[in-house]
């Protein structure tokens, strides 16, 4: 039984990101992994080695797609070529859901290839939700939007980030990819309590969780995905699981990538939190009676 209405994939446990340095190990050793998350854009190509590797992975594993350039918050309409390629890949992978970020990153057809924060206003939330619906209708799979880590806030904002996230997903009627590391990074950069964030989002919409490591600089934290998950993030993760129920969880490790076994071992640390939840026969996050 699903833990919540937007997490109907509860048999998905702990996954790891499919990354280039691990290709050979995975294809040769065929390690037991519940599922892999791929960066969609790396496989939205016509042919060649990326698709060959992907097809071999798909023969053995379940794959979930995660995008980095749909830019739901950009004013531009979704690029038609981008959508078509994305849909082609969705058909290839049979991903049960699709995620991308709650951010902007392109303007007037120019791309920053970054996940830029948005001003948290009602009009921006409306625009973003409309774009999410448009993409979902085109690709025909459920969409989860991920909260990004951020280093800047705008005077223009009218609400907190978690209020904005809630507003967007309610209006778009979509899921949330809850990145607890991003919440922690942003909480330190913007001086808010990360548990407030977790407590005030619609838990029944959380379809997937990201965990990752970050780097501490003198004046701010940077989301670097090049470390093991730090203790405060595990605490947030434990709290998130309590609130959301058993949720598909993925460890991101994108830079200074260690061996496959080390990454997998780090990811499996999440088991004890998911296990606790399962052991309690799960108290699913309920959709509010009057949403």
């Amino acid at each position: 039984m699903p833990a919540n209405p937007f997490n109907n994939q509860t048999e998905y446990g702990i996954g790891i990101g499919l990354r280039v340095p691990h290709f050979r190990h995975i294809l040769e050793k065929k390690p037991v992994v519940d599922w892999f998350e791929i960066i969609s854009e790396n496989f939205m190509v016509d042919a060649g080695r990326p698709l060959e590797v992907l097809d071999r992975i798909l023969e053995q594993y379940r794959v979930v797609q995660h995008g980095v350039s749909m830019y739901f918050g950009s004013a531009d309409k979704p690029d038609r070529e981008h959508l078509k390629r994305l849909k082609t890949l969705v058909r290839r992978t049979k991903t049960p859901w699709l995620s991308d970020h709650l951010c902007w990153g392109s303007v007037d057809g120019r791309y920053t290839h970054d996940l830029l924060p948005m001003p948290y206003t009602l009009s921006v939330a409306r625009h973003t939700a409309e774009k999410i619906r448009h993409v979902r209708d085109f690709v025909e799979v459920p969409i989860c939007v991920e909260n990004v880590s951020s280093y800047a806030e705008f005077h223009q904002s009218e609400m907190t980030e978690w209020e904005f996230l809630s507003e967007v997903v309610e209006k778009a009627d979509c899921g949330i990819l809850l990145d607890v590391n991003n919440i922690y990074v942003s909480s330190k950069n913007h001086d808010f309590d990360p548990f407030d964030y977790l407590d005030h989002i619609p838990h029944h919409r959380v379809g997937q969780i990201h965990i990752a490591g970050h780097t501490k600089f003198e004046k701010y934290l940077l989301d670097t995905h090049d470390h093991p998950v730090l203790d405060p993030v595990w605490k947030l993760y434990a709290h998130a699981i309590k609130l959301c129920g058993h949720t598909a969880t993925l460890l991101e490790w994108d830079d200074r990538i260690p061996s496959f076994d080390e990454v997998h071992h780090e990811a499996l640390k999440a088991t004890k939190f998911l296990g606790r939840q399962t052991g309690r026969a799960a108290v699913p996050a309920k959709e509010p009676a009057a949403a």
């Binding site: 854009e41 016509d46 060649g48 060959e52 920053t112 970054d114 800047a152 830079d255």
Partner: protein, 291 residues
């Protein structure tokens, strides 16, 4: 915010002090970015500007290691910065970021100093590798197709194949760079950021006309030297000429003492075996270049 990102960084890798309209960047940033207790508005904006430039410059470094070796670190960065300032990414994928760099090098010789011709050649050669890595492949021409058509055969070259003439032996130079000029994975793979380590500058090649095909076989990249007549035949076939017409044009001034019929047969068998030919009329665009 986008304007701040797309402007090249200062010599100290920070935002420039002066905005495009003459105001101070600090005052412009303060208008829309909130400061916090540790960072000013402009410092927060600067985190994003640095991230943008480091990412796109790294991408060009990875796609053009040969050009980088020819020009040296400082001159290459100047070229890449100017190129990106004029031609920011216009695609959702970083794969296409450097597509115009070969033309830019030729059009703006001042950035390549005394090495314009060599740098332009190497840029074309390296872009051909991007194309060969994940460019589309069309159904391969079969032996039966060839027999049925006879001398009236028309073919389409595979879109991932580039045959080009160079003023320098770029393929040999690439090998001299210990094959680091050949990429192994997708340029937009987030896990594959290039190293910023400085390498000793190699001895630059002297001019020597060469004809090279860049292609893939079993999804591995290869380049293959071509004889001038072979290049001319491939070019003719790529332009839509029949096999007979392409051979006639290519061999018009060839050495009459050579058994060209046998040689062309051998070439054709090799090319056919490599899968370079697709059926005429299959969708896609063959790539043919001339220096």
């Amino acid at each position: 915010m986008a304007e701040a990102l797309f402007r090249p960084l200062s010599a100290r890798d920070g935002l420039r002090k002066e905005w495009s309209d003459g105001r101070s960047t600090a005052s412009v940033a303060a208008e829309f970015v909130k400061p916090n207790s540790r960072l000013t508005s402009v410092e927060r904006l600067e985190i994003y500007a640095r991230s943008y430039w480091f990412r796109v410059l790294d991408c060009l470094c990875e796609d053009y290691p040969g050009v980088r070796a020819i020009l040296g670190e400082r001159r290459f960065m100047k070229l890449a910065t100017e190129f990106l300032a004029r031609f920011p990414s216009a695609s959702f994928t970083l794969r296409n970021l450097g597509s115009r760099l070969p033309a830019f090098i030729a059009e703006e010789p001042a950035f390549s100093g005394p090495h314009v011709a060599l740098a332009a050649d190497m840029a074309r050669f390296e872009w051909a590798q991007v194309v060969a890595f994940d460019g589309p492949a069309l159904p391969v021409l079969t032996r039966e197709d060839v027999i049925a058509a006879g001398p009236a055969l028309r073919v389409t070259l595979q879109p991932y194949l580039t045959v080009a003439e160079y003023a320098y032996p770029v393929d040999q130079f690439a090998l001299a760079l210990k094959k680091t000029a050949l990429r192994g994975e997708a340029s937009n793979a987030l896990a594959a950021m290039p190293s910023s380590r400085r390498k000793p500058r190699p001895r630059l090649p002297r001019p020597a006309r060469s004809f090279v095909a860049v292609h893939r076989q079993d999804n591995m990249l290869y380049f293959k030297r071509l004889e001038p007549e072979a290049f001319a035949i491939l070019t003719g076939l790529g332009a839509g000429r029949t096999l007979a017409a392409a051979c006639a044009a290519a061999l018009r001034q060839a050495d009459p003492g050579v058994d060209w019929a046998a040689r062309v047969r051998q070439w054709f068998q090799t090319w056919q075996g490599l899968g370079w030919f697709a059926r005429r009329g299959a969708s896609g665009r063959s790539r043919r270049e001339r220096a």
